[in-house]
Amino acid sequence: MPDGKHWRVSAGVGIIWRSWDSESVVYESFSGDIHSFDMVTGAVLKLLVQHTQDETTLVNSISRTLEIEPDHSLSLFVKQSLVRLSGLGLVECDK
């Protein structure tokens, strides 16, 4: 279950997007890296680019946007996406 942490895009991160139906490719200007994301992970990052959000809000927003049932599987997937994005330095937990 989402634990209520707030997440946002890391300071200094600059993203250029290209999106298709099921995946996104982004160029991150600070690191110079190019990343390819699945549909849900791309949606997570896009939502956080707009503003800081907690995990519950992220799950609900993605559920509405992608028309996916907001169940435990989606919550877990979103949490895993946040962990992976955090590991890449793209997002951080708001203290």
Partner: protein, 211 residues
């Protein structure tokens, strides 16, 4: 209302409810099928492509330096950047006129030592407020010019990063706007930002000064 009519009405209502339930199930099944398709992905799929020198100088970026991937190394690319102390050296500033300006400086346009610091870096996000009219030169020489200490020299170091970005472009490895955006959105401490800028500025210390 007769019993027959009432009964038929109840049956229609019942059929209608059944139809609605079936429609809901169908809609739910569509959603579930969609996520079931996603469910084949048991974990988020993120692939990081080690980019070729897309901008010609990937090895000058932070990631490029950390990757140590020699297969992408381009020996014709010369990464560059100066310590903030270089940017405030007399050889780079040139002589100071009687009006306090530096007309012969070697700073990259559009910046001059007279540029107003807080026109680029926020005064109000908690990093440091040097005063509305403080110039870049004054911020770099903050103790002598403004009587300020205890700022971790964060303004000086941020200016160094800003000037490096504009002087060396992709060969410093950070995009235009990065210094200002980072200052304006920084959520860590002042010292952390100062140390961060200092480390970035010091990466290519064999760079000749811009004179």
């Amino acid at each position: 209302m007769s019993d027959d009519i009432r009964e038929s009405q109840n049956m229609s209502e019942s059929e209608e409810k059944t139809n609605l339930v079936n429609e809901d199930k169908q809609a739910a099944n569509v959603s579930r099928r969609k996520f079931a398709k996603l469910g084949l992905l048991t974990a988020p799929v993120i692939m990081t492509l080690n980019s070729r020198p897309v901008l010609g100088a990937y090895q000058c970026t932070v990631s490029g330096q950390m990757s140590g991937n020699l297969s992408n190394f381009d020996s014709t690319v010369q990464c560059a950047g100066n310590s903030e102390l270089v940017w405030m050296d007399a050889s780079v500033l040139g002589p100071q006129g009687s009006d306090g300006t530096f007309l012969a400086h070697s700073w990259p346009a559009p910046f001059t030592p007279q540029s107003i610091f807080h026109n680029y870096f926020s005064r109000f996000n908690g990093i440091f407020d040097y005063g509305e009219t403080a110039t870049f030169y004054q911020v770099m020489k903050r103790k002598q010019e403004l009587g300020i200490t205890g700022d971790n020299k964060v303004g000086r170091k941020a200016i160094g990063t800003l000037l490096n970005i504009h002087q060396y472009g992709e060969y410093f490895g950070l995009p235009v706007g990065w210094a200002e955006n980072t200052w304006n959105t920084w959520a860590g401490t002042r010292r952390e930002l100062a140390d961060f800028c200092k480390v970035l500025n010091a990466r290519f210390l064999n760079t000749p000064p811009p004179i």
